[in-house]
Symmetry: C2
Subunit: 254 residues, 2 copies
């Protein structure tokens, strides 16, 4: 009786190109958590999720294990998982961590050198970001978010170390650690323009430092760059109106 995720045994539609049940479960549960539909501390029952998402327990269970690794969900000693709750300090630490890792990536890139082609791509991205930031009141945030994301992704690969890239990818999944985490909400804030201009200046400085093989400088700027996000976080926490604007902000309690 339990499960209602019933589906005729041999008639399963089968995954339609990359839409595996596991992935659906992962995205579904993430969405459930970040949308605030299930609050912090709430237990995530496998059977309930199974019924709600129309997926059997097996992929649900895999997704929960993954989300546990990502830090979105917390394992209960006696079994099962609850939605994790984050303090403001947790988020600050995650940002600090991202900064530290991006710093290491930037430094190693500078020290070991980067192929010219890669640097060329970086410069292209810088130019595009310049263009987006240039014209006040007409800034397209969707484009900014996309380019900014690409810039950081590329930065993460510049060290040439797959290990470091992997770890950065992990840290970016921590709630609000990603560079773009707050930008959607920032769009409504007056301070946004200054923030973007400063960020872009730092982007340029990081690339320049890497080009000049100035490892220490590259690292220092990358770290400071991440701290921008922290400043934004503080501003945002103050402005309680934004709680519903930023997905997942409801996870922060304390």
């Amino acid at each position: 009786m339990a499960t209602s995720a019933r589906r005729e045994r041999g008639t399963s539609p089968r995954r339609e190109r990359g839409t595996s049940q596991s992935l659906k479960a992962l995205l579904g549960i993430r969405e459930l958590v970040f949308s605030g539909e299930v609050g912090p501390g709430v237990r995530l029952s496998e059977v309930t999720l199974s019924g709600r998402l129309g997926i059997s327990r097996t992929p649900i269970r895999a997704a929960l294990a993954q989300l546990d690794q990502e830090g979105v969900v917390e394992a209960i000693p006696s079994g099962g998982y609850t939605v994790r709750s984050f303090t403001q300090v947790d988020v600050a630490d995650a940002i600090e961590l991202r900064g530290a890792l991006e710093g290491v990536a930037a430094r190693i890139a500078a020290e070991r050198g980067v192929p010219a082609a890669r640097l060329q791509t970086m410069h292209s991205l810088l130019a595009e970001l310049d263009h987006v930031v240039a014209d006040p009141k007409r800034t397209d945030f969707a484009v900014y978010i996309a380019r900014n994301g690409e810039f950081h992704d590329l930065l993460h690969t510049l060290s040439g170390s797959e290990t470091i890239r992997r770890e950065l990818e992990r840290v970016m999944r921590l709630p609000f650690a990603a560079p773009n985490a707050f930008i959607t909400a920032q769009a409504e804030m007056p301070e946004i323009r200054v923030s973007l201009l400063v960020a872009q200046a730092q982007h340029r400085a990081i690339v320049n430092a890497i080009e000049m093989r100035e490892g220490a400088r590259a690292e220092a700027i990358a770290r400071e760059h991440a701290r921008l996000a922290r400043t934004n976080l503080d501003v945002m926490i103050e402005d309680t109106k934004l709680i519903n604007k930023v997905p997942g902000l409801s996870l922060i309690s304390g």
Copy 2:
């Protein structure tokens, strides 16, 4: 027919205190990989592992997913996993990463301050390590490894940031990133004594820096401390006789 992990349905002995099948699978597969019993690039079939470890596919599958996260095993796009192979550079990067994270932990600990009780524990560990290192030719490596591990574990918590501690715990699971990774082999090397003395001096310096609230210094020393491991790695790679002495060294190819 396939599976031979057969076991009477209702007669399962049930886990004997914490020995869940999942844990057994995790440890079993790790052992298989690190012992070199299955070489890099080899595909890990779930049913084969199931039969070999006497565990059903479900916990095996969970363990493989976990090991994928840990970086021990690599997911094949079309499904399944292979044993990952590491280059010497990969290991160096992992050590660098550990150093960077321990550095951040030490700096934050220094900046935010640490409860006196914690510092007291650190000093106790320092004293014990002193004692172990003091007498040449009679050094008990098992004790050193234990205390050294405790020292680093404690250091990881000193920042007070659970996020950072978690991430450090992850990175430590990367092959050879852990502080104790090479010590067993070092026991047979002549340079070991100097290495341990230097390491211990750094331990003291890190604690001192944290006490003095000298964040930058704490970070710098912690990073350099990690680099000791890298030096040891280089020495060890040269000495091919050690390949069978160090568990998992067979994973390094290139």
